[in-house]
Each structure stands twice: as structure tokens, then as C-alpha cells.
Amino acid sequence: MSEYPLYEVFVRSKHGLNHKHVGSVHAIDDAMAMENARELYTRRCEGVSIWVVASRMISASATDEKEALFDPSEDKIYRHASFYELPDEVGHM
């Protein structure tokens, strides 16, 4: 099977939630990927919707880019609500 392209599988567990990555399957085309994903990842009512996408279509950030990409947001604590201290009298905001 490994000569078949790899697909990543995303399942929406119930209405109102995001699709979440659950794993991968090998398949010759989109239709087979969908069937394999259904058999493999939703045998016990785990979902209401499935996405399959060929793994080669996914662009991922590289591990060594982690600092360049994510560190700059660490010193911007003023982006969080908890940064702003308000007197108790103001009540819940």
C-alpha cells in the first residue's frame, strides 16, 4: 500500500466543533481515501463529517522556525485581557 499517496484525515466530532486531525490513510484517490478514513476513524460514531487531504498538499512550519515564528508574540502580553487591571468596583468585564 505504501506506493499509494498518503492522505491526512480530519474529523468533525459533532456539529459546532472544528475538524480535528486524527491520523492518516493511504489511498489511490480522493474517493478511496474517504472510504478508508470512514472505515478506520469513525467505527464508533466519532464524527459527523470527514475531510481528507493529500499529505503532499499540506505546507507545515519547520521545527527550526519555531522561535522566529512564535517567539515575537511572547513579549506582547498587552494582547491578553489579563494585562489590564481594573478596580473591583467596575465589576465583571
Binding site: 500500500m1 506506493e3 492518516s24 489511490i28 484517490d29 478506520l40 467505527r43 521545527t63
Partner: protein, 336 residues
């Protein structure tokens, strides 16, 4: 345990001084319980050990379908047949989750399966025993899946992220397996004839010791455990897991009204654990080497399944090539 005697290729665990910068960083993540992911740097021996362990685990799930498949057409009721079908389908699913986890390490699925077929890769010794009567389906679900659960619950905390996540998914599904097995035995012990009850005891007699062997050799005969534990691929030693399994299983055995084929089995007030007799390690090593009762038959069936399915795979490739607008490159089947 579904993986036994997994080689690490490491004789001595490196001290901090002997480690490179990368190795130190890697070990510090392991020590801090930070999961290792596919794209992270890892020592070559860690990667190879994981490929061996995960592929062996996957092979065990796939070969493990065969002893139960033997009784599908002879299940006593339609309900039991449906349950057994669902369980066997789960085992196929577990194999696939694990092969996927293995592939994230850069290993090729077909190559690893070929190693199994060439006798170069192992699978759990337990699946080389025959299933001689229906009660074996009960005993396998209860004892074999029970032993697998003890091992796999701990492996949910294994250090490699994709392996750990596959284990979480597998553990969720596995407890159905054990309960359906125990229910088969309990139903017979409550409602069965004397002859049927004797079959339950016979199944336990035959599968008891092989189930204890699933956890692998004793700790002092397990040269690879130390490194696997340091890397947190393994989280508990073989002997610890075996003892956990025995301690939780004996009350269930007593509730059934059955006995274990071990005259030395008894509760030890001082240790708070059950003592048990010596395992026949010569038998364990013989089965692992390929000389168990069913090794030959199991591998022959796996090979035949792959060969017989070749035309389906070829047809799928031909169909995909016909719709070649989907793919720039035509695909080639590896064939039989």
C-alpha cells in the same frame, strides 16, 4: 506485551558527559516529559528502536486477527459472530494506526511488512498458539487483550508523540475486546453444560502461560529495557507489567470459578502481590524463533492474503492512472 525483545542496538546508556549537544537537548526533553514529534531531531538508535517496536506491535495486531478469524464462521450465535467481526476489524484498525505512526519516522510500510514475511521481523509470541474451541475466543479476549491493555495503557505515555496518540485511540477501543471475551466465558460458566465449562477451564489452561509470556523476558534477561526506559519508549519493566496483570486478573479468574494451571500461585500478604511459578522460558524463546505450534501457518496466511490481493491493488492503480488528471505522475503498482 505486543512487542517483545525489541533491540535498541545500545550496549551502554550514555552519560551526560558522553552526549553531544543535540543528544543532551533530546534527553532533557524526554526527562521533562515533552513528547518527541516526527520532525524533531532524535538519535538514530531511538528512531530505529521505535521503528522496530512499532512495526512489531503493528504486525502483532494484523497477525492477531488470524487465530480469531478461525472461529468466525463457527460462532454459536449471530450476536457473537457480529461481536467477533467487530473485534477483528478493530485489530486491523489498530495495525493501521500503528503502521501510520511508524511511517512518520520515515519507515516504509511495504518494506516492514516484507521483513515480517521474510521472518526477519517479530510479532507477539501469543499468536502462534492454535484456537482449538469456541471458548478460546473468550479466553483470548479476556487474557490476551487484557495483557495487551496493561501494556498499552502505560504506552499512552510513551515519549514519541505519534505512537502515544495511536495508543490512546487503541486503548479506548480495547476494553470492549476484553469485556466481550470475559462475558463469553462468564455466560458459559453460568449457563453452560459441564462439558462446556470444562472447555473454559481447558482454554485457560492452554492460554495462561502464553499470556504471561506476552510481557517478554524477566528484567534481568531483558538487555534492551534499560535504554528503552531511559528514552521513555517503555514506561514500566516487563516484570512490573506482568505482576500488574496477574494481580488484576486473579480476582476475575476466581469470579469465573476457574483456576490457573500454576500450583505456585498464591497471595503474598507481605508484598501485597500474587506470587507465581516459573515461566517456561525455553518455550518462549522457541516460539519467538519461529518454532511455535502455528508460526508457519500464520506467516503463510499473511503472505497469501497479500498475494491474493495483488490484482485489487493493480486494478486501483490502473483506475487512478486512467483518471490521470488527478496526478501528474503515473503510479506503478509493485505487483505481487
Amino acid at each position: 506485551m505486543y512487542a517483545q525483545l525489541v533491540e535498541t542496538g545500545v550496549k551502554e546508556i550514555k552519560s551526560q558527559d558522553e552526549m553531544s549537544q543535540e543528544e543532551k537537548h533530546f534527553q532533557s526533553k524526554i526527562d521533562a516529559e515533552i513528547k518527541i514529534e516526527a520532525k524533531n531531531w532524535m538519535p538514530d538508535a531511538y528512531r530505529k528502536t521505535l521503528v522496530r517496536q512499532i512495526s512489531q506491535h503493528a504486525h502483532s495486531e494484523i497477525v492477531g486477527m488470524l487465530p480469531e478469524g478461525n472461529w468466525l464462521t463457527r460462532a454459536p450465535t449471530l450476536k457473537r459472530k457480529l461481536q467477533l467481526l467487530a473485534k477483528i476489524q478493530d485489530e486491523a484498525g489498530h495495525g493501521l494506526y500503528l503502521y501510520s505512526a511508524m511511517e512518520t519516522l520515515g519507515a516504509d510500510r511495504d518494506t516492514e511488512i516484507q521483513k515480517l514475511h521474510d521472518g526477519k521481523a517479530k510479532y507477539s509470541s501469543i499468536f502462534n498458539y492454535p484456537t482449538l474451541n469456541w471458548t478460546d475466543m473468550g479466553a483470548i479476549g479476556w487474557l490476551v487483550d487484557g495483557a495487551a491493555i496493561v501494556n498499552q495503557v502505560v504506552l499512552q505515555r510513551t515519549s514519541y508523540g505519534p505512537y502515544s496518540r495511536a495508543m490512546v485511540r487503541i486503548c479506548k477501543e480495547e476494553s470492549f475486546h476484553q469485556r466481550q471475551g470475559y462475558e463469553i466465558l462468564l455466560t458459559i460458566m453460568r449457563e453452560g453444560t459441564d462439558a462446556q465449562k470444562a472447555m473454559v477451564q481447558d482454554s485457560i489452561n492452554r492460554l495462561w502461560w502464553p499470556s504471561l509470556m506476552m510481557f517478554g523476558p524477566t528484567d534481568d534477561e531483558s538487555p534492551n529495557s534499560k535504554q528503552s526506559l531511559a528514552w521513555k519508549i517503555k514506561r514500566k519493566s516487563n516484570d512490573e507489567l506482568r505482576q500488574m496483570f496477574i494481580d488484576q486478573t486473579i480476582p476475575q479468574l476466581e469470579f469465573l470459578g476457574c483456576t490457573a494451571p500454576d500450583p505456585d500461585l498464591k497471595w503474598n500478604e507481605d508484598t501485597g502481590h500474587y506470587d507465581f511459578g516459573e515461566i517456561d522460558w525455553a518455550e518462549f524463546y522457541a516460539v519467538l524463533k519461529g518454532n511455535g505450534p502455528c508460526n508457519h501457518e500464520r506467516l503463510a496466511k499473511r503472505k497469501k492474503a497479500i498475494d491474493d490481493g495483488a490484482w485489487v491493488r493493480e486494478a486501483a492503480v490502473a483506475y487512478a492512472n486512467k483518471k490521470s488528471d488527478t496526478y501528474q505522475q503515473p503510479l506503478h503498482s509493485k505487483g505481487a
